[in-house]
């Protein structure tokens, strides 16, 4: 049974802290509770998305800089 992290807000999803840096979470990587897994930009302000669950083998459902709705699936974990 996979575990899911959903977007708390509507906006633009970013997997990296800035364009030149590596992603917060690598594809297939582990996630611990409290880790920042990405940013959601809503109306020009940035909100960190923190993991409330832990898991491994991160599979992102949303590309970097893609629009998301509130409640949209961001990443699945094992």
């Amino acid at each position: 049974m996979s575990k899911q992290i959903l977007s708390p807000l509507p906006g633009t999803f970013y997997r990296k802290p800035s364009p030149d840096e590596p992603p917060f979470v690598a594809d297939g990587g582990p996630v611990a509770v409290g880790d920042t897994i990405g940013l959601v930009e809503v109306m020009k302000t940035f909100h960190e998305v923190k993991a409330e669950i832990s898991g491994t083998n991160a599979r992102f459902a949303v590309e970097n800089e893609e629009p998301v709705m509130a409640g949209a699936l961001l990443v699945e974990l094992d």
């Binding site: 807000l9 509507p10 633009t12 109306m43 020009k44 629009p67």
Partner: protein, 454 residues
């Protein structure tokens, strides 16, 4: 100037796209509205004669993509392009690309945009035109003695700034000669360590600063001013409340800063609507030029309300080649106007953005509300949070404040959290009522103010 049958491409969104649409329609122009894929339902799209898809929601892939916007306007057969504010409005490359594609850019030339967008070049142009700038050292200050000779000229307090610094880093404030002797060596050492360059310069600090800006309009040869606005109520350098005229200027101070602004506009051959922003220091009755904005501004309606001039129509007419239709001697200040920016933010929760679906809208009859909203509209989360601007006009400032309080009491925007409760509190705040709020006021007031939940 016959504009009927010509077409205008609007390269913007939100309330300013609606504002430009109405001005263009009043002039008989056909309106072509560019929009991102997140903006297909926006009001300006519904009001347009034609619409063009500019691409994905992210502004960098739509509204900010110079090549895409120019191609969209050209392919739609537009005669002219209005950039609104923000996005590409002060992008010299965009202005040049619009003209290179055979269209009119509604604004100044690319050269003027580039020159006024460069802080150093703009300051030099200001000084050359006799526009007052913040006093400071002519260049680098190498020693304590040299710094003292500068402060004997400009007075205290002064800011000691690192040439290689930026964003407020490494700034020290000296109140007197003793401070200067102690702080200069510290600042030099720190700047050398932090930036690899210990060069310092001095600038006099502006105390109790008020944000005062002058609206100008030019046709490339002649320019007029349309008096000033005051925008001292700011949060994180964003204006939230604007007025015209300023609550603090004497007639002499107003005449002085407005005349200086025209000199700069005419010196650079300014075409279209522009604004010179100043800090005003009441204790010295002195102005310091900060920057020039080479576009229509968010807060332009307060100027329209006190002068009766439609600034957006005028800038479009000028862009199409008409001479300035305004005479300085015929321009007068009539009463007082206040604008508040209604943002989709929750002031009771640290101004958290709140995109959502608009429910019932109730706007009082005797106010102006420049807005992008209609009932049932889903505010997209991808752009800034400005929903609309509530604008009132009164016989004088006290009357305008009274009308604002009444309007805020009657106004309802259901389904959204907005900054309306912030303005209900501010309109009853004694410092605001007395016209005593400086640019630092709002942020310190917010630390203790109680704002009801939206």
């Amino acid at each position: 100037m016959e504009l009927a049958g010509k077409s205008l491409f609007i390269a913007n969104r939100g309330e300013i796209a609606v504002r430009v649409n109405r001005a263009a329609k009043a002039l008989g122009l056909k309106v072509i509205q560019g929009h991102s894929q997140a903006d297909t339902e926006m009001l300006a799209v519904k009001l347009a004669d034609e619409t063009v898809d500019l691409g994905p929601p992210a502004a960098t892939k739509s509204y900010l993509d110079v090549e895409k916007v120019v191609a969209a306007a050209r392919d739609a057969g537009a005669d002219a392009v209005h950039p609104g504010y923000g996005f590409l409005s002060e992008n010299a490359r965009f202005a040049n690309a619009v003209e290179a594609a055979g269209m009119i850019f509604v604004g100044p030339s690319g050269d003027t945009i580039a020159r006024m967008g460069d802080k150093v070049a703009a300051r030099e142009a200001a000084i050359a035109a006799g526009v007052p700038v913040a006093p400071g050292s002519k260049g680098i200050v190498a020693s304590i003695d040299e710094a003292r000779s500068v402060t004997r000229e400009i007075g205290y307090p002064v800011m000691i700034k690192a040439s290689a610094g930026g964003g407020g880093r490494g700034i020290r404030i000296a109140e007197n000669d003793a401070d200067l002797a102690r702080l200069i060596p510290q600042a030099q050492t720190e700047a050398a360590a932090a930036f690899g360059d210990g060069s310092l310069y001095l600038e006099r600090m502006v105390t109790d600063a008020r944000h005062v800006e002058v609206q100008i309009m030019g046709d490339g040869t002649r320019a007029v001013h349309l008096f000033e606005r005051e925008c001292s109520l700011q949060r994180r350098r964003q204006k939230v409340w604007e007025e015209a005229p300023s609550a603090v200027l004497s007639d002499a101070a107003r005449a002085h800063v407005c005349a200086a602004s025209i000199r700069l506009a005419e010196a650079v051959g300014y075409r279209g609507a522009g604004t010179l922003e100043f800090l005003y220091e009441p204790a010295r009755d002195a102005f310091y030029f900060m920057e020039m904005n080479t576009r229509i501004q968010v807060e332009h309606p307060v100027t329209e309300m006190i002068t009766g001039v439609d600034l957006v129509q005028e800038m479009i007419r000028i862009a199409f080649g008409a001479p300035l239709s305004l005479d300085q001697s015929a321009l007068r200040i009539n009463g007082h106007s206040i604008e508040v920016r209604v943002n989709a933010e929750d002031p009771s929760n640290n101004f958290m953005p709140f995109p959502g679906v608009v429910g019932a809208i109730q706007v009082p009859d005797d106010v102006r509300f420049d807005t992008m909203l209609y009932e049932g509209y889903a505010v997209p989360p991808f752009y800034d949070s400005l929903l609309g601007k509530l604008i009132v006009h009164g016989a004088d400032r006290a009357d305008a404040l009274e009308k604002l309080r009444a309007a805020l009491g009657d106004m309802k925007l259901e389904g959204l959290k907005t900054t309306l409760p912030l303005f209900r509190a501010l309109a009853n705040e004694p410092k605001v009522i007395a016209g005593e709020a400086n640019t630092a006021f709002l942020e310190s007031w917010l630390e203790t103010a109680e704002i009801e939940a939206a």
